[in-house]
Symmetry: C2
Subunit: 297 residues, 2 copies
């Protein structure tokens, strides 16, 4: 008895509002024929960064390497002092910081200015977190789920999150901080697109035999999707179709796909069509993400 093989893409997969906006700004800038660089990769997807490089918009990592007329601030935002330096340089700045990240920067600053030591739940080395942290003048702690604060009771404590973290982890950290502060002021800076995507991914993983998670290996939100899926079912995290291995799909009937906020549609479409070849699922070849079963933004 062989049952039909299904391939589904989790709803709300792929580009979020902030990424779409950053790419739109960068494309418009590229069309002006000015000399442009992005300071750091515009989003955490190597394939998209490469496609911008081919259009003449290169990515540099250091302020000193910004020798162009125009610089694009990437979706993750940038340190406050680097922004000041760029302004001093007199270079034209196109700010593609995700509005939700900019909001988190502003809220971090406000909490700090009001006298709250600020706890950021996030990866201390992530550019978004470094950027948010730079807006805090007072005491600041960057913690992951398992980190602890100094052994004392704080009179006041603020808590925010890297925008792409999971709500469940944020709730857990919030709970663990309750005994650490007389007053704990929690501002939920998790992007709702992120939590909606995570939830849709969770539901799909529960009804799948294998999950294919698509997105940059350096993408925080994609890694979080992989972690969510790993806890439920066999999971493979890949960046592009060439990494697919036929043996993953042997004996599998329900194949689930999901993609991080920085994953371009064409990569998702390629992978869908490639899995079709491996599994002989009989699903039609698709050319647009909207044609993949399950997808609905």
């Amino acid at each position: 008895m062989s049952s039909k093989i299904e391939i589904k893409l989790a709803p709300n997969s792929g580009f979020c509002f902030g990424v779409k906006r950053a790419i739109k700004l960068a494309r418009e800038a590229a069309e002006t024929n000015k000399q442009i660089v992005t300071l750091g990769p515009i989003i955490h997807n190597p394939q998209l960064v490469e496609s911008f490089r081919e259009r003449g918009v290169d990515s540099v990592n250091d302020l000193d390497q910004v020798t162009t007329q125009t610089v694009i601030i990437r979706s993750h935002g940038v340190d406050q002092d680097i922004l000041e330096e760029l302004k001093k340089k007199g270079v034209e700045i196109i700010d593609a910081t995700c509005p939700y990240v900019a909001k988190a920067q502003e809220l971090a600053k406000r909490l700090s200015n009001e006298g709250y030591p600020v706890v950021i739940m996030g990866d201390s080395n992530h550019p978004e977190v470094k950027g948010i942290r730079s807006y805090i003048d007072g005491e600041v702690f960057v913690i992951d789920n398992n980190d602890t604060l100094p052994d004392k009771i704080f009179p006041r404590l603020g808590l925010i999150s890297q925008t792409t973290k999971s709500l469940e982890d944020f709730q857990q950290v919030a709970s663990s901080l309750v005994p650490k502060a007389k007053e704990l002021r929690i501002v939920n800076t998790i992007c709702s697109a992120t939590s909606v995507r995570q939830h849709a991914t969770l539901l799909l993983a529960r009804e799948s035999d294998i999950m294919i998670v698509i997105g940059g290996f350096n993408s925080s939100n994609t890694k979080m999707l992989a972690k969510i899926c790993h806890n439920i079912i066999e999971t493979q995290h890949i960046e592009t179709a060439v990494e697919l291995q036929g043996e993953w799909f042997k004996g599998k009937h329900k194949i689930g796909m999901t993609a991080g906020a920085s994953t371009p549609d064409w990569i998702i479409v390629n992978i869908y069509n490639e899995i079709n070849k491996y599994t002989g699922s009989g699903s039609p070849y698709v050319s647009r993400i909207e044609e993949i079963p399950g997808y609905k933004e």
Copy 2:
């Protein structure tokens, strides 16, 4: 083989700071030979309330019944409007509100005045909670562990607790409210004496064969101690020594005792001596709480 029978009292059992203070104020008032009533029982312990009645300090439940020259506000505090009425009546007010409860009232008022709908974790019928609630002009919700708020996302939300609730429950409610508010401002109003007593009780329950929890059946913090013990080991909640039953102790070697914040020392001492008789533990008869093994304030 029969091993030695041990009876231990959990450290920090019995009267807390706020209760001691309320009783001291009431005793001093009783000695003045003025006509005095307490508005509601001074603390949630019927035996102590009765001993005050014998000294001429009666407890009334209604504002209209206050016909004396002097009124004592009990440790749980009182509704703001009742306090105003008493002031209008021109009666002398002795305010025995626990300073931690007064602080919770003040913080509730401040959160509300700053535009936060306030969630109180507590028993909606408890006089302390009713009192705290009366200081909130704006939106207010009283919830227990399992209650839920209206199905919407609040821009801002404040959270406080009845002072005698468990920290673990407060952490759980805090975690559950994180997704319900953009900003969640948590003020920990749980009395530290309460959490210290709960923790000591938990540790003793883990090494006991039975726990005897002593305190008023209407005492919130005593009921919480009983709940904590019930989750670990066989538990009996009693008010006085006459309720003890010899069969509870058959085959038991490690007998743990704990007592709520409103339980007078003489009741604890009586019960200790009575258990001694049942078990023949060979422990000496004691006359003061400090002589009972395990007790250390």
